[in-house]
C-alpha cells in the first residue's frame, strides 16, 4: 500500500470511529494564566528571577565579559568557537592565551572547549535560554563544546512560559535550553554533559 492509500484508510477509520459519537468533546475555555507558577515574579525584575532560576537548574549567569574570560581561563577552557557577529565586541576581553575561531569545523569537534553564540532571548520563570536558527550562527557550535555561552540581551527576557510560547515567532527551529545537558538514566544518579554542554552559561548584556 502506498502512503496515499494509507492516508485514506487512516482518515476513513478515524471518521468511522467517531461517527457513533452523538456529541464531540468541546474545547475548554481557559487562559494560560493557569499555567504560570505562583509567586514566582512578585515585584522582582526579570533579570533577578532569571538568574535565580537558572542557577537552580545548575546554569551560570554572568553579566560581565571579564568574569566570563576569568572563568574560562581558570578552568583552562582556552580553545573555542565564537559567532563571527559577536567576536568584534568580545575580542578585546580575551587574552593571547586564548585560541578563538570564528568558523566551526565539524571534523574537529573535540577541539572546541567552548562555544559562544547569541541567544534569541530567555525565560525568567524557568531560567531558560531561548535559541533559534536566526541568532545561532552554528547549531553545532552551540551544542558540541563542553561549555556553551549564550549571549542574552537583557531586554529580551520573557517572564513566563505562556509569554515565551506567544513569542516563538516564525523561526523554523526554536530551542529552549534549561541548564546543562543531563541524564539520570544510570541508577537515577544525575550526570551533566551527556551529548550537549556540561556547563551552560548565560552572558547577559
Amino acid at each position: 500500500m502506498s502512503s496515499s492509500d494509507d492516508r485514506e484508510s487512516i482518515l476513513s477509520r478515524v471518521r468511522g470511529a467517531l461517527a457513533p459519537l452523538h456529541e464531540r468533546a468541546a474545547m475548554p475555555d481557559y487562559t494560560t494564566e493557569l499555567a504560570v507558577m505562583r509567586q514566582m515574579m512578585g515585584s522582582r525584575d526579570l533579570l533577578t528571577v532569571f538568574a535565580e532560576r537558572m542557577a537552580l537548574a545548575n546554569g551560570i549567569v554572568l553579566t560581565e565579559p571579564t568574569a566570563l574570560v576569568a572563568r574560562l581561563r581558570e578552568n583552562k577552557w582556552l580553545h573555542g568557537y565564537c559567532d563571527p557577529v559577536l567576536w568584534p565586541s568580545l575580542a578585546a576581553y580575551f587574552g593571547a592565551d586564548f585560541k578563538v575561531e570564528t568558523t566551526y569545523d565539524r571534523k574537529r569537534v573535540d577541539d572546541y572547549a567552548f562555544g559562544l553564540t547569541r541567544a534569541a532571548g530567555a525565560i525568567a520563570e524557568t531560567g531558560t535560554i531561548v535559541l533559534n536558527d536566526a541568532t545561532t550562527s552554528r547549531r553545532l557550535g552551540a551544542l558540541t563544546p563542553w561549555v556553551h555561552i549564550a549571549v542574552v540581551e537583557r531586554a529580551k527576557i520573557f517572564s513566563d512560559l505562556p509569554e515565551a510560547v506567544a513569542g516563538l515567532g516564525h523561526d523554523n527551529n526554536v530551542i529552549w535550553v534549561t541548564g546543562p545537558s543531563k541524564t539520570a538514566d544510570v541508577e537515577g544518579i544525575l550526570i551533566e554533559g551527556v551529548h550537549g554542554p556540561g556547563i551552560q552559561i548565560a552572558l547577559v548584556v
Binding site: 500500500m1 502512503s3 475548554p28 541524564t183 537515577g188
Partner: protein, 466 residues
Amino acid sequence: MKFQQIDQFAAELKADTRAAVYDGSKKGHEKRTKLLFDEYADPDRLRHIAGEVKQHVVENLDTYLPQVEAKLKANGVIVHWAATAEAANQAVLGIMRARGATKMVKAKTMVSEETELAHFLEKHGMEALETDLGEFIVQIDGDHPSHIVKPIIHKNRREIATSFEKNGLGAYNDDPQTITRRARNFLRHKYLEADVGLTGANFVSAESGRLVLVTNEGNSRFCLAATKCHIAMVGIEKIVPRDYDLALFLNLLARSGTAQELTVYTEFISGPKSPTQPDGPEEMHVIFVDNGRTEVLASDCRDILRCIRCGACLNVCPVYRQASGHAYRSVYPGPVGAVLSPLMMGDKFPQKADLPKASSLCGACNEVCPVNIPIPDLLLRLRNRAKEENVPSPGTPPMGAWALLASQPTAWRASLFGGKIINYLPTKLLPIPALRAWEAKRSLPVWRGGEFRKWLKNRPPGKSSA
C-alpha cells in the same frame, strides 16, 4: 486464589531488577508531587483542563489531521501516512534509500519502539543507532526498555559497565560519570557521520504545524544539528489545537514525568533548517502512524489516547513497582500499558487481556495523570470486554458455584454452617491447585461462618445499637 499471569512473568525477573524498579519509580513519584503542589495554586485544575483539551482533539481527529497535514506541507515538510507498523518502517526505509542514506541516529521515540524500527532497518542493511543513553544501553545489550521515560530503570551500574566492556567501550568501570562520558565520546562521532536523524514528537500544534520535542540529554538536538535529513514518526493522537496550549502541556509533562519544571531541551521545529543556518536538515519528513490507534479510537476506551507518555502512572503504580516493566510484555507497561497494549492488539486482544487485571484499582494512576485519564474505569471496561469475548482467564478462581449459593438464601445458610468442615480438613493436601498456591504463602483463617447470624437472632430485642 492463584497468581495472576503478570506475577508469573514478574517472577522470572531477577530480584535486583525488581528492587531497582521499585526504588526508581517511587523516587520519581515523591518528587513530582512536591513540585506540582508547591508551585501552582490549583494543580488539579491544570490537569483537568489539559485532559479536556486532549479529549477534544481525540474526538475531532477527523478535522485536526487534515489541518495539521496542510500546515506541515505549507511549512515545507513532506508528510507520509502509515496504517501499520510495517508501513511506517517501510516509509522510513524508502526515504533513506531515496537519499542513498545508510546511517541513522535515533532519538527516543515510543512509536519506533512499537514498530521495532531499529531491528527492521538493520535487517535491511542500514545502521540505526539509539542515542538516548538508556536506549543506547538497551540496544547494545539486546534488551528491551522497561519504562517509557526511564528505559533502563531495571539495570544497575555493574550490568551497564559489563556490557560497555563487552562492546569495546573501555575496560570495566561502573562509575556513572565514566559510563556517561564514554557514551558521549562514542556517540558524538556517530552523529556527525550519520545521514539521517530520526525523532518522535511530544506534541504537534495544528495551528502552526510546530513539532515539539523534549529531551534532557540533548540527543535529539544533536541529531538535528549533525544530519541533513530529519524524519519524525508521530502517532496520530499527538496533536494539540494551538501553540497557546503548548505552555499548559509543557508545564505538566516534565513535572509529571521526571519532576522537573522543564526538560533541559524543548525544541519547536516547524520545518527544515532556515536557509541561513549551516547546520541541520535540509529535508524534513513527518510520518503519521496509526498502528492500532484507530482501533482504540473506535472503542469505549478512547480516553487513553489523551496520554502524553509522561510515565507518572508507572511510577505511582503499586503493581508496576513490584512487577517491573518487562512483565507487561509490551512497549507500554504500567497502568497506561494495561489499557493501551491490549487495545492496540486489535483482533489479538486476548493475548494481552490479562493486563487489565493487573491492577488493584486503587486509583493512584488517575490521580497523578496530567491529562486526568480515568484509567481504573478503562481497566474495568476491558475486563468486561474479556469476559464478553470469553477470553480464558487463568488464575481467576471459578465463581459460578459461589454465585449460585449466594443467590439462594437457604443454600447460603447451609453452606455457612457446613463450611466449618474446612477447619478440620488437611487443606494443604486437597487437590485444588488454587487453594494450594494460596496456602503456600499464607494460612487460612479459622472458619467462623454463621456466627453473625446466630448473634443477630439471639440478641436482646429493642435496642438497635446493642
